[in-house]
Symmetry: C2
Subunit: 179 residues, 2 copies
């Protein structure tokens, strides 16, 4: 951030009075510009004993697999965002049935909020951001070709929970990939 | 938003190519300025069979009661944010033990992520944003003087869950107060 989005004058990085963190501040109009993490809403679409995954047609991690997920927009709930992403990326309808995970990705300032979603029918299609969409049974998940560590961590727990027949709600931090 | 925070030129509201939603766009430097909901991280601090609530010393809803909660900052996890707010508002330490609720407040574009936190000792104090901090047993919660509908909804479910000895993780939408 270099300029104030309210008045167009340059901003400076400073700790405002009464606060403890550095903020971008506009000395011309006194606006303090707060920056906050973004929510990525995701859905694990379920049909019978399979889940629906998408192969990314866009960077980053083009060609790798993920469940539908994307940035939550203004004027929607996290559940609506998760269902919308499923419709956009996999052309699949889901009924959100439960919250499954809240994972913080500190390095990129994202919080993943992932739901389970029941598909009313096995119909799906190719969204613009997907080069392939497929059902996977739990023992056929493409572990070596998942797009992000948070996708791996979420699906690892999901398959583990499914295996013992009891789904918990998970939270915690997911670290970046080792290079 | 009136000006581009990257180059200082005026922005316009327009649907960018390949997208479907109106965004603030800079024609000078081509930056698309996305706007997203913010996370409010909260904690219900528990000591034995009581919870710790704070009376707000600041607007909005000055003088009314809440559990510690505030905007998640960059470079922290939601759990760290919830524990930090508890330390700031109630000068109390907590060990985050479980995720309790994820509630979308669509009208104000906030998502509350609330945890339960175990206090290792009953020590607390007055943070700058609190005019009073007190322990409440579940049958003494000041229902008529809670700060926001999301606080009411969260504590209503909490007391209900506690009553039957089984805590679930809740999610959904919380509507604004009726006027």
């Amino acid at each position: 951030m270099k300029y104030c989005n309210q008045c167009g004058k340059p901003v400076v990085l400073r700790v405002p009075p009464g606060e403890t963190l550095l903020r971008f501040v506009c000395d011309a109009c006194q606006t303090i510009h707060y920056q906050n993490p973004k929510i990525v809403a995701g859905c694990i679409p379920e049909w019978e004993d399979k889940i629906l995954l998408c192969r990314r047609a866009i960077e980053p991690r083009l060609g790798l697999w993920t469940f539908p997920a994307g940035f939550m927009e203004l004027d929607e709930t996290t559940e609506q965002a998760a269902a919308r992403e499923t419709l956009e990326e996999a052309k699949a309808e889901v009924e959100i049935t439960s919250l499954y995970a809240v994972f913080s990705l500190v390095r990129v300032n994202q919080v993943y909020v992932v739901f389970r979603g029941k598909m009313p029918s096995p119909e799906f299609g190719l969204g613009h951001e997907s080069s392939d969409v497929e059902f996977f049974s739990h023992d056929k998940i493409p572990w070596e070709n998942l797009a992000f560590p948070v996708i791996h961590e979420t699906l690892r727990r999901y398959v583990e929970d499914a295996g013992r027949g009891r789904f918990e709600v998970h939270f915690g931090v997911v670290l970046p990939m080792k290079r």
